[in-house]
Symmetry: C2
Subunit: 200 residues, 2 copies
Amino acid sequence: MNNKSSSYHHGDLRQKLIEQATLVIESNGVDALSMRKLGEVIGVSRSALYHHFDNKQNLLAAIAESGFATWQAITQTFLNEDSLSEHDKLTKYVKGYLEFARQHKATYELMFGNIIWQNELDTESLKNTAYDTFHQYLNLIKHWQDTATISSSQNSLRLAQVSWSTLHGMAKLYNDGIYVNDTNLEELSQSIVQLLQTKN
Amino acid sequence: MNNKSSSYHHGDLRQKLIEQATLVIESNGVDALSMRKLGEVIGVSRSALYHHFDNKQNLLAAIAESGFATWQAITQTFLNEDSLSEHDKLTKYVKGYLEFARQHKATYELMFGNIIWQNELDTESLKNTAYDTFHQYLNLIKHWQDTATISSSQNSLRLAQVSWSTLHGMAKLYNDGIYVNDTNLEELSQSIVQLLQTKN
DNA sequence: TTTTATAACTTGACAGTGTCAACATAGCAT
DNA sequence: ATGCTATGTTGACACTGTCAAGTTATAAAA
């Protein structure tokens, strides 16, 4: 009775699934994630997962959402540090973005990948979270333009879109194995900041 | 001796497979491609494909390689037009890149995706082709810096990496469904060009 | 021309996948 | 105690990529 009751109802299975799935994809890639194996590792039958996620894609979406939360927490940490200059915050944002993408390759892939964005899923809250992240970035761009930290010769929205594209593109090119030399990331961060600072 | 043109039951199956597979992925996405169905549609057994490609990934790599060839041909067309100014060529390159990515979503995804770049496959020639493409872009950046078409305040290699990241990131964000408004692409192209032109 | 070697192709099989229907149980609220 | 619901299980289905073993068509060699 003791062992049976303790092993039947898992209690926090949903959270455990997200955590274990994240572990798997970060060490072996998104494609290596199997619903059946995931249940096996946790010690639960293959169908149990479907009481917590309608399908595999929704599990992946949950991982992505927790990824956005992590990134939001990271940025809040240094954006609230009063001792940092605006320029330092900009540099930290750029470097931090690329580091986050590198340290959570698979999660980052999910956050901005077609698996989540091209299909109609239960991703309403995820899409809102993602939009919040971009909206916060747009506000930062505006603020840095106001404080003359970066060039204000361009429309804020477009500059935000273009510069975020740069961050995303570099993260992808690195993560997907096209930019292989990791010591470059520091230099490339500097280049991005420099490009944003140039005026005309 | 010319082996590939020699006709058997099917003539040039290898080429047909690439063409049909491209059709499938461009209309239904890379994930929708099934080796078995592909053979079925062409009228050949499931195992026939493996006499032309060691595995599915190598078929995808072949599609990617033909994608690089297409892109190379497109750029050559307008880069050789003497009537165009350097500034026009730059604009055409940026707009053309984003349009190419949009018109060949799935092929573009393969060209720069982890499927090809993260595994060790028969991709030596593919990787060389890809490297040639980037090398040509780097030379263009140098040339445009020499002709004062764009800013020369940054190291050429780094500027090439950063600006290519911008192109790639924007293409990905658009293709993966995060940037949904297609009328933006024209404006965003202008923004990229403008950013490259600014001097300090 | 006949033989032979080889490239192209087929069938059968295996291990794996996501997901659903049907059933079973645990634990809580009534 | 009774019933409800969340949570779990097993069996099954229709897929998937890929390989081993066998077959045939065609080009080269005899």
